[in-house]
């Protein structure tokens, strides 16, 4: 009880119910499921990263010296498949959404805890099937599985990979159903829609996209599989089928899926910017509805992937216009974050460096996205490294940075421990620098005409490719650092206390660190807006008492 007084509860979700593997693999606690996801997607991220490393090593020289063209095709395909479906799509929603959504809205758990665990099992089953396909020989179609190559000609394990993605997709759908229902029905008394943290709004918008888009890719991949196994001709021009239809169906999912990958990151950045500028977010309602607008508009832009696929000029123009529209709510968010920084008391902690990095890199990625949405420029740079650089600015510069920011922001709440701040800042800067060095040269390469998906290139491109590979090395080092110091902090990190960032929100102000199994002793009554940084945090006294107590006990790092 004395321990509970100083902010580290005697029992919490990590020690309650034991440490055995059963208590983890059969858990229905949303917090533990979030951690299961964290471990799984970190493994997938490492796997996808190894593929990326091999790609960059091969591209160090203009000749083919490390791998053959067939192996190279498999490498970039599996890099894409693993990173898109097994890291980016689950990343923030499945880890932090799972952990935080019930706590942020004041609930004891998700609406469907067992379904939540089932989602993780589906995700893992899908992942294992896909990895099985990789182990026995891999797949070489590109992550886009364009027909008729994938459905008829590819000499690879397309069906098995597709089955893996299909299964994992249902895991994602079930998670999304859980998010939507939980947000609708499980909010604590007083937690109105416009008191919800923006992280909830963005995850809600993401979940809408997931439930409407994922079934489309599911059935499309089933059609590809059926075509390979049974010889139907739906996408085979030799049998009267239409390969373009596949592209329409694929991008009807996969463009919205881009927003599945970026929207949760935007939610994280809203939390981080408000906390580390110590200000209420500027234009809350606009940021909230911008998420919904992105989710809806995102469904009407898929044709901008198909400007050179033979779709009509009229369709091309229309899709170009609609793609410009989706930039508006994205820009609203960027402007609002910037306005939040204005006259804020900015604390440059590691999570904030990631958030600022996100804003800059997302803006670059978004603006080059507008260039690509203009049909005239797209025809010039289509299928070049310009496209690669553009979407990596969104996916890595945006989403991965937001993921790292979220990891560093909520790590003390999740584990009860603080990581070494200096190392975290070094890692954040290394990642930012390494990222830009990797991908900025690719904009130039693409503009000069280097096509994607080739493992050789003319010699005049070597300089920029060497820069890019050098950047990738720095980026890899930047990712390795947190793996080291975060794991170290589990055993030796300072204890965090209930609210180490002096942040606002139920997860910081109303729960212990780490939270207890049912999150709250009593379901809280919410009486304040989100991001009420004008008023002191509800538990600031408790946090200060905790820090004094730690200092009195002679713990290192407390004054």
């Amino acid at each position: 009880m004395k321990e509970a007084m100083i902010g580290q509860p005697g029992r919490h979700y990590l020690n309650e119910g034991g440490f055995g593997w059963k208590s983890w693999l059969l858990t229905t606690d949303h917090k533990r499921i979030g951690i299961l996801y964290m471990i799984s997607i970190t493994s997938f991220f490492l796997l996808g990263g190894i593929f990326a490393l091999l790609i960059r090593l091969e591209l160090l020289t203009p000749q083919a010296d490390l791998v053959s063209s067939e192996t190279y095709n498999r490498l970039f395909t599996m890099h894409g498949v693993v990173m898109v479906w097994f890291f980016l799509i689950p990343s923030i929603p499945a880890v932090f959404g799972n952990f935080l959504i019930p706590i942020m809205i004041g609930a004891r758990d998700m609406a469907f805890p067992r379904l939540n665990l089932a989602s993780w099992y589906l995700f893992m089953l899908g992942g294992i099937v896909a990895i099985g396909a990789i182990v026995i020989g891999g797949v070489d179609t590109g992550w886009t599985f364009y027909t008729p190559y994938s459905s008829t000609y590819a000499n690879a394990y397309v069906v098995l990979t597709v089955i893996g993605i299909f299964i994992a997709g249902f895991g994602t759908i079930f998670t999304a159903i859980n998010f939507i229902v939980t947000t609708h029905t499980m909010r604590a008394p007083g937690m109105g829609w416009f008191r919800l943290p923006l992280f909830i709004w963005s995850n809600y918008a993401t979940a809408i996209i997931v439930i409407l888009a994922t079934p489309v890719i599911g059935i499309t991949l089933v059609l590809v599989g059926v075509e390979r196994l049974l010889g139907f001709g739906i996408f085979d021009p030799a049998m009267g089928g239409d390969p373009l239809l596949f592209q329409h169906m694929f991008w009807f999912y996969s463009h919205p899926a881009v927003y599945i990958m970026i929207l949760p990151g935007m939610g994280v950045v809203s939390e981080l910017v408000a906390c580390f500028a110590y200000r209420r977010i500027f234009g809350y309602i606009f940021v909230a509805f911008a998420s919904i607008a992105i989710a809806l508009l995102g469904f009407f832009v898929w044709g901008h992937h198909m400007f050179v696929s033979g779709q009509s000029l009229f369709a091309g123009l229309l899709f170009s216009l609609l793609s410009y529209l989706v930039a508006v709510p994205s820009a609203v968010k960027v402007f609002n974050w910037t306005a939040t920084l204005y006259k804020g008391s900015i604390r440059l902690e590691a999570p904030m460096i990631y958030a600022l990095g996100f804003i800059g890199l997302f803006t670059l990625g978004g603006l080059t996205g507008l260039m690509l949405a203009a049909a005239a420029i797209d025809i010039h740079v289509h299928d070049t490294y310009f496209v690669i650089a553009h979407f990596h600015y969104i996916m890595v510069g945006g989403m991965v940075l937001a993921y790292m920011g979220a990891l560093h922001f909520w790590w003390p709440k999740i584990t009860g421990r603080l990581y070494p701040n200096g190392w975290a800042i070094i890692a954040a800067i290394l990642i930012f620098v390494g990222f830009n060095l990797t991908f900025f040269p690719q904009f130039v390469l693409g503009y000069l005409g280097m096509p994607r998906r080739y493992h050789t290139y003319p010699e005049e491109f070597q300089m920029l490719n060497v820069l890019s590979t050098a950047g990738a090395t720095i980026l890899g080092g930047g990712y390795a650092l947190p793996l080291g110091y975060l794991l170290w902090s589990l055993g030796w990190g300072k204890r965090a206390g209930p609210n180490p960032w002096d942040a606002r929100g139920l997860e910081w102000e109303m729960t212990t660190t780490p939270p207890i199994k049912e999150n709250f002793e009593v379901i809280p009554l919410v009486e304040r807006e989100a991001y009420d940084y004008a008023e002191p945090a509800l538990n600031i006294g408790e946090q200060l008492r905790f820090e004094r107590e730690m200092a009195a006990q002679g713990e290192k790092g407390y004054r």
């Binding site: 998700m110 609406a111 229902v181 029905t185 599911g218 049998m239």
Partner: protein
Amino acid sequence: MSSQRHTSLLHQFNDLEQQRLSYEVGMWIFLATEFLLFGTMFAGYMVYRTHFPAAWAAGSQELNVLLGLINTAILLISSMFIALAVRAGQLGLGRSAAKFLLVTMALGSMFLAIKAYEYHDKWSHHLVPGLNFEAHPEHPFGLPLFLSFYFTMTGVHAFHMIIGLGIVGLMAFWCWRGRFTAEHNSPLVMTGLYWHFVDIVWIYLYPLFYLIGR
């Protein structure tokens, strides 16, 4: 408060009303997913029907319209019985609900049996694209595509029927055992929603495949 908790109330909910709402909202959202799953195939169907209108008309002549009609009637009647089961469950009449669910299962099984007979019939007439198909002189491309869609869409629908039969069976068992009460019957309501959805899909499949060229 905890001493008054209803036995069917799960720990994460505050009251039965919240639990009921969550279950039913969840089911509707799942059906939205299903809607897009079938919607994709309907979109593909539309594209090819525009490409090959004559083959689509010829293709529907190959299907047995009478069996399709009987199957439509069977499904509509099964929908009525599951609606009765849900109502009985909501009134707390578990045994009656179980009986209605058993009738639903019987009708659903009849539907699948007739569907299986139709598939077999197509096989013996060499009308299964890819596996057992004799090229059609007038519609070398269109007819196999029509039949590809026929098998894919009715196949996915039949797969949903099979899952549905399993769930309805489980519900019948639970109803018989008195698991549902007038306050707590959401799983039954959700099963009803699912079954109706699968029926509605068939309501569109029947005219689009069987009646299109007649």
